[in-house]
Amino acid sequence: MLGINDPWILLGYGLSIGLALACVLYGLLNWNIGGDS
């Protein structure tokens, strides 16, 4: 896939992108939460 055959390398790329998207999702879902100062 995409010129890379080792599933461990592909998994590493998949997890990196997935976790970055999880950060975006977390930020959006909690955008207005925790307003105490």
Binding site: I9, G12, Y13, S16, I17, Y26, N30
Partner: protein, 526 residues
């Protein structure tokens, strides 16, 4: 190709002028020592995210680890997984919010000050400050070397001039503007890095014929793996090394785990949480932090490995054969200078300057405040002596520059992993208990901190061959590179020291909780 044009001078001058302007803004806004130390605890979420990310990612990540990826392949992408999963998600969500809350309540201004106040122990503050003063100059010197090497390669000036000039520019705005200046400049530098690394990824794949073609070409180069690396377990640049081999152990335990876990207890990053006004700011910062780190380390490791394809197609050599003296730290600078157009060389130099300066500024600030607030003042004088902290920053800058001149080649990634591993081993269990235990026990914390630091140093000085060779103590005393053979000699000190320090704090904390529980509410006799 050395770029030496009016464009370069003009762009660099504009960049430095912008940094000085932001430094001046920080200087104007710094009225109290709390402003100087924790940016008045009112930083904007975007500034927190970019500042955290830009401090996190330095020339070490781009030049040092990019060079390691050129040598060892794309397996380093697992460091990106940990960087985002632990360095952003876990750091902000699990540790960040509690750190901000406790830091604000206790009015802590540095990481050692935070631990000292939570444990109500001057010992904790002083020893934590001491570990920072001893360990952080190594990492700082590595970042300085990374920036200076690229500047020398690009504008053909001497290494000494490039290193001293570089340190001087950062010194000016850190000393005068404190953490507000550091975070303002970090944010702009983070934005520049994002643009530079995005273009680098696209340009590299376009240059090498697209994603599929470039990756396939790299996969096909597996038979070209040098004999010494193949013997160590390397199988190619798009495959993982053989499980359990010496290269696998170095890649996973030192580069991936050492840096991936180490980032959780980095004093200069923990302080960022204390600059947030509320938890909402940290939630919002996560949104930017994850994709930012992906575009920094993910791109550096991918492009690093792909430089092999470029050098093989143009020179008939793999990347490490192009590097003078086999110094992996020079691979990325050489690739950028040879393969990409001049305008990008200029942009990338600014990107790299930004990466190095954003990390350096925070390291200088953290070391200086640790020296003055935590060691000299032991907490008492932090609030009174902004001038003293400025002098502390200056002293640590001079020390770092001297160490940078003394360090050997191919050191950037190793020195980075060393400092991060030391931080994780010494601080992480203590920090986790400090922010989450109901009654953190000071004896447990002292024992864990000392266990983590001492075991890490013993393993680094006498067992791990790579680290032991940097210090030279094992060779000098015993005549051997390591006191133990493989696989122990390839295992990072973190893998041994962190579980031990964690076990110590957990066992003693449980014991203390039981003892306190019995003291407060004794179980009535039947």
């Amino acid at each position: 190709m050395a770029v030496n044009s009016l464009t370069l001078i003009a762009v660099t001058a504009i960049y430095i002028a912008v940094m000085f302007y932001l430094g001046w803004l920080g200087y104007k806004k710094t009225k109290t020592s709390e402003d100087y130390m924790v940016a008045g605890r009112e930083a904007h979420p975007v500034i927190i995210a970019l500042s955290y990310g830009a401090t996190f990612i330095s020339t070490s990540a781009i030049v040092g680890f990019g060079g390691q990826a050129a040598n060892l392949g794309m397996g380093l992408i697992w460091l990106t997984v940990l960087n985002i999963g632990l360095g952003i998600l876990l750091a902000f969500v699990v540790f960040g919010k509690k750190t901000r809350e406790i830091g604000q309540r206790l009015k802590a201004v540095t990481f050692p000050d935070l631990l000292g106040k939570i444990y109500q122990s001057q010992f904790m503050q002083v020893v934590t400050g001491l570990v920072i003063i001893v360990g952080m100059p190594l990492y700082t010197a590595a970042v300085l070397i990374g920036g200076a090497q690229f500047i020398r390669e690009t504008i053909s000036i001497s290494y000494s001039t490039s290193l001293i000039g570089f340190a001087l520019i950062v010194a000016i705005y850190v000393i005068f503007g404190g953490l507000i200046a550091v975070m303002y400049t970090d944010a702009v530098q983070g934005a520049i890095m994002l643009v530079g690394m995005t273009i680098l990824l696209v340009a590299t794949y376009l240059l090498l014929g697209g994603v599929n073609t470039a990756n396939s070409s790299l996969t096909a180069m597996a038979p070209l793996v040098p004999e010494n690396l193949a013997k160590g377990g390397m199988t190619g640049w798009t495959t993982m090394p053989v499980f359990g081999s010496s290269i696998w152990l170095t890649m996973i335990t030192t580069l991936v785990l050492g840096v991936g876990i180490g980032v959780l207890a980095q004093p200069q990053l923990v302080v960022r949480f204390m600059t947030a006004k509320n938890s909402k700011s940290l939630n919002r910062a996560v949104l930017i932090g994850g994709p930012f780190i992906l575009m920094m380390t993910g791109v550096a490791f991918t492009v690093g490995a792909l430089t092999n394809v470029y050098f093989y197609q143009t020179l008939g050599k793999i990347a490490i054969q192009v590097a003078p003296g086999g110094n992996v730290d020079t691979i990325i600078p050489i690739f950028i200078n040879q393969a990409l157009p001049e305008w990008f060389v200029v942009l990338f130099m600014i990107t790299l300057l930004a990466a190095a300066m954003s990390t350096l500024s925070s390291l200088f600030h953290t070391m200086g405040t640790a020296l003055i607030c935590d060691l000299w003042g032991r907490g008492r004088q932090c609030a009174l002596s902004m001038r003293a902290n400025q002098i502390g920053v200056l002293i640590m800058i001079i020390a770092s520059v001297i160490i940078a001149f003394l360090m050997p080649g191919s050191i950037i990634a190793i020195a980075t992993a060393m400092f991060m591993g030391l931080c994780a081993s010494a601080f992480l269990p203590v920090f986790a208990v400090a922010v989450y235990a109901k009654k953190p026990d000071v004896t447990a914390a002292k024992a864990s901190l000392i266990t983590g630091a001492v075991v890490w140093f013993i393993w680094a000085l006498f067992i791990n061959t790579r680290y032991a060779s940097v210090y030279g103590l094992c060779k000098a005393l015993t005549g051997k590179a390591s006191l133990l053979g493989l696989p122990w000699a390839a295992i990072d000190p973190l893998v041994i020291a962190l579980p031990l320090s964690a076990a110590v704090v957990i066992i003693l904390q449980i014991y203390a909780d039981r003892r306190n529980g019995q003291a407060v509410s004794p179980v009535p006799a039947a």
